[in-house]
């Protein structure tokens, strides 16, 4: 059994290790390692399209993860204050946001937004008869909203779980000692749920940064890093992709490790 487990771990990590190894290959071809070089990293980082896609992805991931962390945490706090029926409805919706396949989220958001813009844009145009009217279109906003949907549900669930295991006695003790609700929240609840909020933020960031399929539908004219990488792979493999894959993999691993570490943080004593 142990041998099998070792084999499975090898199966999980060897292909990734190969990509990382060959990202340092001096030669262009994958079949042999002809020497150590960081030239593909240089090529990748001096490719303006790639850098543009990377910047877009960073911006979208940061914004959607921040919004998701805020709204998701607020939702988890709110859900602790409502009745069982409201809670069940919310749980079902949040569960659906997580479980519905990305491809369906992508197309349904695309369809709904295109319809919405079709109504709103002529209306906006009628308000600005002379000037250039503002036009709503797919782009940053739609990607952030679609990513945020999944991420917010994820944060709400993680924070909700943490709230469920929160020591009620501390909250009661705090109000017995005449702390205002706000003080209780700031000094008791917030410190206890903070690791879950941060972990949720990091996972949300990773999800958004890595997502291809949702963004593929709602990106409009924008390009995110996964969309750029996908297009490059389809055009024929370029060695730069291995360099950028390595950077992305290392960054994702760091973020996930950080998130796991945050989730395992002991609740602060005192």
């Amino acid at each position: 059994m142990r041998a099998f487990v070792v084999a499975v771990f090898a199966f999980l990590y060897l292909p990734i290790a190969l990509v990382v190894l060959f990202s340092f290959n001096a030669g262009r071809h994958a079949s042999e390692f002809t020497g150590f070089s960081v030239q593909w990293y240089g090529k990748a980082l001096s490719n303006p399209f790639l850098i543009e896609a990377l910047k877009n992805s960073l911006f979208i991931a940061t914004t959607s993860a921040l919004l998701a962390a805020l709204c998701g945490t607020a939702a988890a706090l709110g859900l602790a204050r409502v009745g069982a029926r409201t809670r069940a409805i919310f749980d079902a919706l949040l569960g659906a946001a997580i479980v519905v396949p990305g491809v369906v989220i992508g197309i349904s958001t695309l369809v709904a937004l295109v319809q919405l813009f079709g109504v709103v844009n002529p209306f906006l145009a009628s308000l600005w008869p002379n000037d250039q009217p503002p036009r709503l279109a797919l782009g940053y906003g739609s990607i952030i909203a679609a990513h945020g949907l999944f991420s917010m549900a994820l944060v709400a669930m993680i924070v909700g779980t943490r709230l469920g295991s929160l020591d009620r006695n501390l909250v009661e003790a705090s109000s017995d000692l005449y702390a205002t609700p706000l003080t209780t929240f700031r000094s008791i609840v917030l410190p206890q749920i903070m690791p879950a909020v941060i972990a949720g933020f990091l996972l949300a960031f990773t999800f958004s940064f890595d997502d291809f399929i949702v963004a593929f539908f709602v990106a409009g004219a924008q390009t995110t890093l996964p969309i750029y990488v996908f297009a490059s792979i389809r055009r024929g493999v370029t060695p730069e992709i291995k360099a950028i894959a390595t950077i992305v993999l290392v960054a994702s691993v760091l973020l996930v490790v950080l998130a796991q570490w945050q989730l395992r943080q002991r609740k602060p004593s005192n």
Partner: protein, 287 residues
């Protein structure tokens, strides 16, 4: 008193407001939109024309190959995942040394949160002409084709979704009361019958969770069949990308998407049913 209740409700509404708006605008309304589209007609220039017809649904067999591939390879992939995942979860939960457990568990989780695109790309590279086939040619097996086959897609599926299968099984095995295993052995059960009668049985809810989760995500998979199946092995996801982004037949695409969601719901309900029945039976057995 009354003002306090009001304040309580107001704060609750403020806390839940943004999430509600988000869920309604970006989950519920889009779903309603594709439901409406799916009973509409394709406009001559592509896109949507209002109608109330079931033509799109009647037309589903036109994409029978995509449905067939998905309906065969998604359960097969989930099953293959399960067969690989179970021993790993078992080892992690019951056999691994205590101090290694969390580290090994983290090693299982990490790949799941790293880009599926990058990980699938890694296999494209391993299975492609310069990877394993080149090595095989070196030792005398020429012209071995690995990439762009159903086998490659299956491998990619196992690789991509293994962590998601291992986790729930691990959780159900980890909660398992070890005394039951001892009791079973004390009562003269062989290790195999202890495994089948106690361990496997009690971990079935975890197995069902993992299986249904992986299966549902596979129903909408696009990247793995595209990159590892070439143009040859395509899923419903590929049909949807084609209908929405290339041929712009939105009503037909919406009908397929709705069907996909319905199938997912059925999978979830069946899995839930099996889980409930199993855990119900478990309670009776234990008393």
């Amino acid at each position: 008193m009354r003002r306090n209740v009001l304040r309580h409700n107001l704060l609750t509404a403020l806390l839940l407001g943004p999430a509600t708006a988000w869920l309604v605008v970006f989950l519920v309304l889009p779903f309603v939109a594709i439901a409406v589209f799916s009973v509409g007609e394709r406009a001559p220039e592509g896109g949507y024309q209002a109608a109330f017809t079931l033509t799109q649904y009647a037309n589903l067999p036109a994409r029978a190959t995509a449905f067939w591939n998905t309906m065969v390879l998604a359960p097969a992939g989930a099953l293959a995942c399960l067969l690989v995942a179970y021993p790993v979860a078992y080892y992690l939960a019951l056999r691994a040394p205590e101090r290694w457990r969390l580290i090994l568990l983290a090693l299982v989780v990490i790949p799941f949160w790293t880009s599926l695109l990058m990980r699938t790309y890694a296999w494209m590279y391993v299975l492609g002409g310069r990877g394993i086939p080149a090595l095989l040619a070196y030792v005398g097996f020429d012209d071995v084709r690995l990439i762009n086959t159903p086998g490659a897609v299956l491998l990619g599926i196992v690789y991509g979704y293994l962590p998601l299968m291992i986790l729930p099984i691990y959780v159900s095995l980890e909660r398992l009361d070890r005394r039951l295993l001892e009791a079973s052995a004390d009562l003269g059960a062989t290790p195999i019958s202890t495994f089948l009668g106690v361990t496997l049985r009690l971990s079935l809810p975890g197995v069902m969770t993992g299986f249904s989760l992986v299966m549902i995500l596979l129903l909408g998979e696009y990247l793995i069949p595209t990159l590892l199946g070439g143009g040859k092995v395509f899923f419903i996801g590929n049909a949807l990308v084609d209908l929405f982004l290339q041929s712009r037949n939105w009503p037909f695409g919406s009908a397929i998407a709705i069907t996909l969601v319905l199938v997912s719901v059925v999978v979830l309900l069946v899995a839930n049913r099996i889980s409930t029945r199993l855990s119900g039976a478990r309670r009776v057995d234990l008393i």
